[in-house]
Subunit: 314 residues, 2 copies
């Protein structure tokens, strides 16, 4: 399903990356790994980020304006927080080359389509995308070429996108190591609310609760943080701006999932309170089976990770 | 603070491990790594587990009854689910050697002290313990010698325990690679409710919700499970019996933490609903700082893990 990362030549003559965080920097290194573009230009709003990018060789050319970066580009990828996609699209629109494709990497798709779509000029294709990959780190120095290897990238083409433009973007993502699927925007937003957005909010909440508790000191929480909590803090360390925007722009689906979550949680709390061990055991047995399904689907490994020992990670 | 794992000789002549799951099997390999006992005997209720243990060389001698395993042992460690600790203690009590120490590895301490304590004969010391280490795997084949390296083990000595017995057990855990602290039982149960028990219940709940959702298929959840959800499924794959018992025996503290959790979650849900981005941003910034504290405390590494790529793990 994925093209071997080595079998590739340039897919676009020039790619512009707007926003130079974890995803953009990983895209750059993945593009370079297989020579997927003639030139990659980059732009970040912050001068510090642009300086860092120049220092570490991130992008062939770092520009001081978004308009300069997109000039002559065949593909422009918006790698900024979801909440500012519309503003950035308005800013670059006049500089876009006819025949170019605009894409993005936002975690919410309906809002991005509504915010960016109206700014896309006639003769330019808009093909929203969302790579399901990331780490808890952010910024221009956090990227690495392997981030997308064997991860999914969801393309969410708008109605009037040219099939050739969609196909070419799919080719790029496959050559960067990803598996590609297409999905309808509202369904995308619901699937992500379940698999990513609600879990992140829950992790943020639990970490906040631990910090608030007066009878347990922060240093105790930190010293004795066991498996479950350590994984939560990892999730809860993700970029605050990015996540604020995700929740504000995928409001309906996130709130729906959180509503179901609290319902289920109350049922389990009740089982604990009433001592209904069978209910708990059955529930936990079912969730264990779901985990096995994820491992079988190849989205994770069976290596033990909680120990964080030699067998679990490097 | 920790003795180097190599500088050690036998600390006990004979150690008996009752229950042969992840913790007991890891203890065995850690004991063998540094020659910390003359002989290690083992017993598991299931004949299949005993057969597996014999096949893989887990324990110097696998016995067909708990009484046989503890006979002549200087240290007996109960490595069974918290809910059956009392029954197992009653079963082995008559066979305990005078002067022996009984310990356990349960995740709840007040309940274990109340269930096991009354069965401990005169002349035997009871020193409850809890190693804060584990993986989502269970059973006799899941153990490895490095599981406790640089993890905490909490000793929760009962009032009348002989200081020498506590000191000797501390020495064993340090020689198995752990850092050791002492804690009072009720405080232990509250700290663990925050850092482990509530997070596990929350992870179980979220994985169950994902499975229940009719408009998103299981295969979609599995295929597209992103970082947050993958970590939840990992947590939610832990042993169902063990976790059922933990929630039933640490009921009060777990319910208290869950109550605070739902309060906070409702506040964040409200911020999403009303579009209060500042509240979300401030909250997420605070949780990110907590994560940094955990890394600085040496309880985890800064290596990116969500990508599960070459940089993140083997």
């Amino acid at each position: 399903m994925t093209l071997p990362a080595t079998v590739s030549g340039p897919i676009y003559d020039r790619i512009a990356l707007i926003g130079l965080g974890l995803i953009a920097s990983s895209m750059f290194w993945a593009i370079k790994r297989s020579g997927l573009a003639g030139e990659v230009t980059g732009y970040a709003r912050s001068a510090t980020t642009r300086d860092t990018a120049r220092r570490i060789g991130l992008c062939d050319r770092v520009c001081d304006s978004a308009a300069e970066a997109v000039e002559g580009a065949d593909l422009v990828v918006l790698c900024v927080p979801v909440g500012v996609m519309g503003d950035v699209a308005a800013e670059i629109a006049p500089a876009l080359k006819p025949g170019a494709t605009v894409s993005d990497v936002g975690s919410v798709k309906r809002h991005v389509i509504e915010a960016v779509g109206p700014h896309i000029p006639e003769g330019v294709d808009f093909v929203p995308a969302h790579p399901l990959a990331g780490t808890e780190h952010s910024g221009p120095e956090s990227g690495f070429a392997e981030l997308f290897d064997n991860r999914w990238c969801l393309l969410v083409p708008v109605e009037h996108a040219a099939p050739a433009a969609v196909q070419r973007l799919r080719h790029l993502w496959e050559a960067m190591g990803a598996n590609v699927d297409e999905m309808e925007p509202d369904h995308h937003d619901l699937v992500l609310a379940v698999t990513s957005h609600a879990p992140h909010l829950i992790a943020y909440t639990m970490v906040g609760v631990a910090d608030d508790l007066r009878r347990v000191t922060d240093s105790e929480v930190i010293k004795y943080s066991a498996a479950g909590f350590r994984d939560f803090t990892r999730i809860a360390a993700s970029d605050p701006t990015m996540w604020r925007d995700i929740f504000l722009t995928n409001k309906a689906a996130t709130l729906e999932i959180l509503g179901r979550f609290t319902e289920e949680l109350f049922a389990l709390q009740r089982a604990i309170r009433t001592g209904d061990g069978q209910h708990l055991f059955d529930y936990f047995t079912r969730t264990r089976a779901i985990r096995r399904g994820i491992i079988e689907a190849g989205q994770d490994t069976a290596a033990p990770d909680f120990g964080r020992g030699p067998k679990g990670k490097t």
